[in-house]
Amino acid sequence: MSSMTDQLMAEQLAQHGTMQFAITAPTFRIKRPGARPLIFEGVELAMAMSFTPSLPNWYEVNLYRTSDQRFVVAVRLFFQSEAEQDQIRAWDFETLDQALEKLSQYDAGQDVRVSLDQADLSLPPAELAAMALELRARVDSARRHFASLLGEFFFELDTIKVPVPRGRA
């Protein structure tokens, strides 16, 4: 049985209560840095992904509902380069609003990795200033990347669709 079939069955059953949940819901195990893994039975409610060939990394956002009616949010950061290690952050919440609030407060700037060698004290001030500017630009870019993806996620979640009006060009 394919994984897609598993997900479809679980979601259909989730609409009818928790009894079926206990029987068929798949088990997820999400590793977290600095914390114990999040292990739960449940279904994936939503996914958003920003894969872009010309960028070195992309995000994947997942929202799950557990069989005990909690909500799990996971933010994964993937790198094109095999030299970089992918990372994942995940949290669980009692309500959907709490989970969505966590997503909207996520700061992608913290995902930017500093390439400056802190042991190298020989850099002139001008070079340090240039590196600081470059770092700030990368932080801004990461935040814009994630905010754009999250805006798409919330737009798809919203059932009221209002197209952007086309005024006189």
């Binding site: 010309s54 969505l100 919330f154 059932t159 009221i160 209002v162």
Partner: protein
Amino acid sequence: MAPEREINVDVHISDTLKKMYDGAPRAPHPSAQTALPLSTLPPRDWQQLSLRRDGKPPIRFVGTLLFARSCIMQSLKGHAKQSLSIYLAIEGTVYAGLAFEPSEACPAWSSYRCAPLHAPTDLAELFRDWCPEANFFPAPLSAHCGTGPPAARSAFNAMAADWLTLSVLQG
């Protein structure tokens, strides 16, 4: 041949989540608390609106479109549409929305902003913070030859100037 797709944003929302999200009670946007009394507004074609914004859930309100302008920026790799729209909410709040929508071949993120306008400076602040050129991927990666960001900025400036001029002329 179709242009190479620069961005492959993919979103899947289950029907279960849509029902849960739609059924949840939501507090009105804080901006509505300083609105005008309903009786001061003339009758209009009110409808349920939802203004999209980056990184946050859309702002929902019942209102009507007052004004819209758009422009298209063309670069060596694709194009992007920018638009400005002004809405009146039924309780009297005025909202402004800005959108940047790149074509599939354009190496840039889409971007949406909106804000309630309580004072003339609010619109100026929205315009000042709007940075279409920052939506483009870093130049060495996107290979847009540097034409996209300045073209996006100049297109937006021209659109905003056109609208502001029209607003002044029409009083």
